[in-house]
């Protein structure tokens, strides 16, 4: 658990963000669904998703990490690392 949020809750929140921005039903977005190849998310939608996640979790996702954001699992893996690092630095 990071910053009071479980990984499952994080995945639920990220899925909701993606569903809203990409206009895809949440049920169609699996943890391992690939954003570009399977969900048809383009680079502009990806940037909107990144921006929404940054606002929700009050963190900054480094630009060089954005190409790694390819699925919900990958997003949460990255978020977990960043949130843990920010907690340690606090």
């Amino acid at each position: 658990m990071d910053n009071g949020i479980s990984i499952d809750e994080m995945k639920r929140e990220v899925r909701k963000i993606i569903a809203e921005i990409a206009e895809i039903p949440e049920a169609d977005i699996k943890d391992e669904s690939l954003f570009f190849e399977e969900l048809g998310i383009d680079s502009m939608m990806a940037l909107e998703i990144v921006t929404a996640i940054e606002k929700r979790y009050r963190i900054h996702l480094p630009e060089e990490q954005i190409p790694n954001i390819r699925s919900i699992s990958k997003v949460c893996e990255l978020l977990k690392g960043l949130l843990t690092a920010s907690t340690q630095n606090a």
Partner: protein
């Protein structure tokens, strides 16, 4: 009011040409804040006033969006000059816009663009258009940037 970019640099940055090149001056660039201010002067001679409307010239909303989008390109070029130097193609992706007041011949349209998020391949900005200090339009613009090597 001086332009901090010469016309040549504006034309070098924006791919649009007459009658669709809408930025006349770059007034301010604040790289630290991620903000630019540009200017478009409105004249009776604008091609879009001919038909919109013959006895009541009003700047079309879609053209105001285009003007804000071009100011956003200026913003991208100022903040990501190394990408802009490669003469990428800019794609408008999504616009959320609100129009507050009509814009007419003689108005000076000041475009303020504030970066929300910008990477080498895309950007999200908040843009506002003002006449005499009053907001006439506001938009949130998402755009893509593609360099064709």
């Amino acid at each position: 009011m001086e332009s901090i970019w010469p016309i040549s640099k504006i034309r070098e940055t924006l791919p649009q040409r007459y009658p669709f090149l809408f930025i006349d001056k770059v007034i301010e660039i604040d790289q630290a804040a991620g903000r630019v201010v540009c200017l478009k002067n409105l004249t009776q001679n604008e091609h879009f006033f001919v038909g919109h409307f013959p006895d009541n010239p009003i700047m079309p909303g879609v053209i105001m969006i285009e003007v804000m989008a071009q100011a956003s390109i200026i913003g991208f070029a100022a903040l990501k000059p190394e990408v802009a130097a490669k003469k990428p193609t800019y794609f408008l992706g999504k616009v959320e816009v609100k129009f507050s007041k009509p814009v007419r011949p003689g108005d000076q349209l000041f475009l303020e663009v504030q970066k929300e998020k910008m990477i080498a391949t895309a950007g999200i900005v908040s843009a506002s258009a003002k006449v005499d200090g009053q907001v006439v339009a506001q938009a949130r613009i998402t755009f893509g940037v593609k360099v064709y090597e």
